[in-house]
């Protein structure tokens, strides 16, 4: 009975299954903006940006860093196929900060040919730091 009001959240990446849990609520960054999912959501499919996925289970909220991907939402499940993903407790904040600095410097030098790469790695690093620090 209890199960009916739960969402089955699964996050998979090419490097393995990151998370598989029954949760109450999921909030996620879609390519067109943030969206929230509660049990009984209409079937929904979206692409994801670099950003944060938060899920609530009882009174605790947990955060996951998601780096591009897709989410398929059904009435009782959320399936996230991400290029990479990390739980907030697994994020290496120091490393992310270093990456942020590096990307920032490269952007300042305005090397145009890899502007896209630098800015997306900056975006990644910023998101990682934010999520990593939130957890602490």
């Amino acid at each position: 009975m209890e199960k009916e009001n739960k969402l089955q959240l699964e996050i998979v990446t090419p490097y393995g299954l990151i998370l598989s849990e029954d949760v109450d609520e999921v909030t996620c960054t879609g390519s067109e903006g943030d969206f929230g999912v509660l049990p009984g959501h209409v079937p929904f499919f979206t692409t994801l940006k670099i950003g944060m996925l938060a899920y609530k289970k009882g009174n605790t909220t947990k955060y996951v860093f998601v780096n591009w991907g897709y989410a398929e939402v059904g009435p009782d499940k959320v399936m996230v196929l991400a290029d990479s993903a990390e739980k907030s407790e697994d994020i290496d904040v120091e490393r992310a900060k270093a990456a942020m600095k590096r990307a920032d410097e490269r952007l300042k030098k305005a090397e145009e040919f890899d502007f896209a790469r630098s800015s997306s790695s900056l975006e990644r690093a910023v998101a990682r730091v934010q999520i990593g620090e939130k957890f602490r």
Binding site: P14, G30, P43, F44, F45
Partner: protein, 292 residues
């Protein structure tokens, strides 16, 4: 009758061969474990991707994306995946035999075959038989990266889109277990032909989806990705199967060496005994002759 020295030389040779095969077995085992880990981690992702795509394909029209387009089978692309190195038992032979048969059948049906291969063994095989290969990828096995799969996938997608061929079939060895590999033939393109057949059975999930951004945009990104993933998966499977096959082959070779060593040692001992007996007889004979 070989001399004792010849036999000892032979024994040495066998012993060093055994050392090599034993070492190769260890190396293969280590490599296999690595690839297997990667594969096992990747499997859930590939599987989920498949379900997502088949869910979507059920409600989508075939016109929405070129990779979904069904065309009459005039030209079929066959992608054969083998290893670069030999010494892995029947691994390559099995795959090449199957591929050869498959191509033959297609030709009998009057379908043009375009051939691409991964791995040196396949290239050499088809070159000897005067096949023209559209594309060859060499030097991948042992260090497969996602980038390799991307390259192959991009090539296939491009040629499929501009109608060089109307179907893509991949033939590779699937990793079943440590001791079993299975030759597998899967259709890669057009996407969703398999899913559709299965879809008949389970209609429960056919619902109208909301899409964000648009459905076309999602397919635009998802389909090429799906091809990449399938290509990557076949490469991983094949390379895990290769190492497993090599391990088994080397295990057998090591066993055979041990057997041979026993046999040759026995023979060497017999020869040694014979020569000692002969020398003794000579001495006794000499002594007897001196007595008189």
């Amino acid at each position: 009758m070989p001399t004792l020295r010849d036999i000892r030389k032979r024994l040495k040779a066998i012993q060093s061969t055994k050392k090599i095969t034993a070492a190769m077995k260890m190396v293969a085992a280590a490599k296999m474990r690595k690839v297997q880990d990667r594969m096992l981690n990747f499997r859930p992702y590939a599987k989920r991707m498949e379900t997502v795509l088949s869910d979507l394909a059920k409600v989508a029209e075939r016109e929405i994306h070129p990779l979904l387009a069904l065309r009459p089978r005039k030209t079929v692309e066959v992608l054969v995946i083998t290893s670069d190195k030999g010494l892995c038992g029947a691994f390559n032979t099995n795959i090449l035999k199957a591929a050869y048969k498959y191509i033959d059948e297609l030709k009998k049906e009057g379908i043009e075959v375009s051939l691409s291969v991964v791995g040196r063994k396949a290239r050499d095989f088809f070159r000897r038989r005067n096949f023209t290969m559209r594309n060859t990828w060499i030097g991948l096995s042992g260090r497969i990266s996602y980038a390799n799969a991307q390259e192959i996938a991009a090539n296939l997608v491009e040629n499929y889109t501009n109608e060089t061929f109307d179907e893509v079939v991949v033939i590779y060895n699937e990793f079943k277990s440590m001791i079993a590999q299975q030759v597998t033939v899967t259709k890669l393109l057009p996407v969703g032909t398999l899913a559709e057949e299965e879809g008949q059975k389970e209609q429960s999930m056919t619902a109208d989806y909301l899409y964000e951004p648009t459905r076309a945009a999602i397919f635009e990104r998802l389909l090429p990705k799906y091809i990449e993933i399938q290509a990557y998966r076949s490469l991983l499977e094949s390379s895990a199967a290769e190492e497993a096959a090599r391990m088994a082959a080397m295990e057998n070779a090591t066993k055979n060496c041990s057997e041979l060593i026993n046999k040759v040692t026995l023979f060497a001992n017999k020869v040694r005994q014979a020569s000692i007996t002969k020398e003794l007889m000579d001495i006794v004979g000499g002594v007897e002759a001196l007595k008189d």
